[in-house]
């Protein structure tokens, strides 16, 4: 028998998938081939003929005594289930340091996003719509005669801006964050060029 074939037989033997006659053939090859015996002999002996482990004297009585004295536990308690991988990682010594680093990074990012009043915010300047634009959107939505939550929200924002006195509270929200800047004074003349563009654009929506 070739060593390559013998190794396949031996591995099947380890998996308990080998018929008895083939087990004898594998054993015979191990007895004849020094190379295979050196490589696979000790492992085969370990896996196929494990040494028994003796039971310590008195252990049975200790167990029964412990069982009698054991406190009762809730019926739904886990019978020795191993904690999940995430729980074990959370218990690792480095987990606390990593969590602290992440917390500091998040706090730094939040602090960098907060702007004092008057300090220009590049994001808000680029993305915040003007009140006139919001009013235009709201009017266009109303003209379409559809109940549109976007239009309703825009109309409400615009009404809030034009009906309430400036109090320093943010009137413009970008991505849910208040933009801490004074709203620009309304210039009806500057809003007119935007209205046709918005109406044309919105009229094509939802067709």
């Amino acid at each position: 028998m070739e060593c390559r074939d013998a190794k396949l037989l031996i591995e099947a033997w380890w998996d308990r998938e080998l018929p008895a006659e083939d087990v004898a053939a594998a054993q015979a090859h191990l007895g004849q081939c020094l190379a295979c015996r050196t490589e696979l002999g000790p492992v085969t002996a370990l896996l196929t003929r494990p040494e028994p482990v003796p039971v310590p004297a008195g252990l049975r009585d200790r167990i029964l005594a412990s069982v009698q004295a054991a406190p009762s536990v809730p019926a739904d308690a886990d019978p020795g289930v191993r904690p999940s991988r995430w729980v074990r990682w959370a218990q690792a010594p480095w987990a606390g340091a990593l969590a602290a680093c992440l917390a500091f990074m998040v706090m730094g990012w939040v602090a960098s996003m907060v702007r004092s009043p008057g300090e220009p915010n590049a994001i808000s300047a680029a993305a915040a719509p003007s009140p006139a634009l919001l009013m235009s959107w709201a009017q266009a939505m109303a003209l379409r005669g559809q109940a549109n939550p976007v239009g309703i929200a825009a109309h409400a924002l615009a009404l809030e801006h034009f009906t309430t006195p400036p109090s320093g509270a943010p009137a413009i929200f970008v991505r849910g964050r208040p933009v801490l800047e004074e709203p620009k004074p309304l210039d009806p003349a500057s809003a007119i060029p935007e209205l046709p563009i918005i109406v044309v654009g919105l009229s094509t929506l939802g067709a």
């Binding site: 482990v53 039971v55 049975r60």
Partner: protein, 198 residues
Amino acid sequence: MPTRCDNLSDAELVRAVLNGDGPAFGLLVDRYLPAVVAVACRIVCNRSDAEDLAQDTFVRAYQRLGQFGQCHSFRNWLLKIATNLSLNHLEARRRERNRYPRIAETRPETVEPDNDAVELPSPTQWQHWLSKLDESQRAAIVLFHFHELSYTEVADVLGVPLNTVRTHLHRGRRRLRELMSARSVRESESWNVVMQSC
């Protein structure tokens, strides 16, 4: 002397214990104590720890006997508890070693065998080889080879997919081959004598 209870199945004994028959649990202990001790000893590679773990296994099994599903194997359920407790014990010992390295150095570990003194592989040497394996590989090999659980049963006990069990077994065996093939030709000839005497 065989008694009437010796012929009862595991499920019947469990029902008897749940109905208040305390001595029936002693029969379950008698049946599975050797297997539980062997699993614990082979996974943690420390006999004194294995005794404590075996005791904890049966105490926990007794406390949670009501959770045992009668359609499952009581033996596998018990081995699952023993395996999980053993692996948890190893993790706790590793955390202690990392946290208090000086104290861990004084803790008695498995006795290192004198590799040059024996010709035939001794039980102590088998423990030595198993202790060189990764814990997951060691548990898979112990359950599959030493306790003859199937792949599916090993996957159920370890709580991992079937392919993971195959991977653990494959890598564990390969690691054992690398470690043990470094032994001398003289010892392999001694092994040949042992196999022929079977």
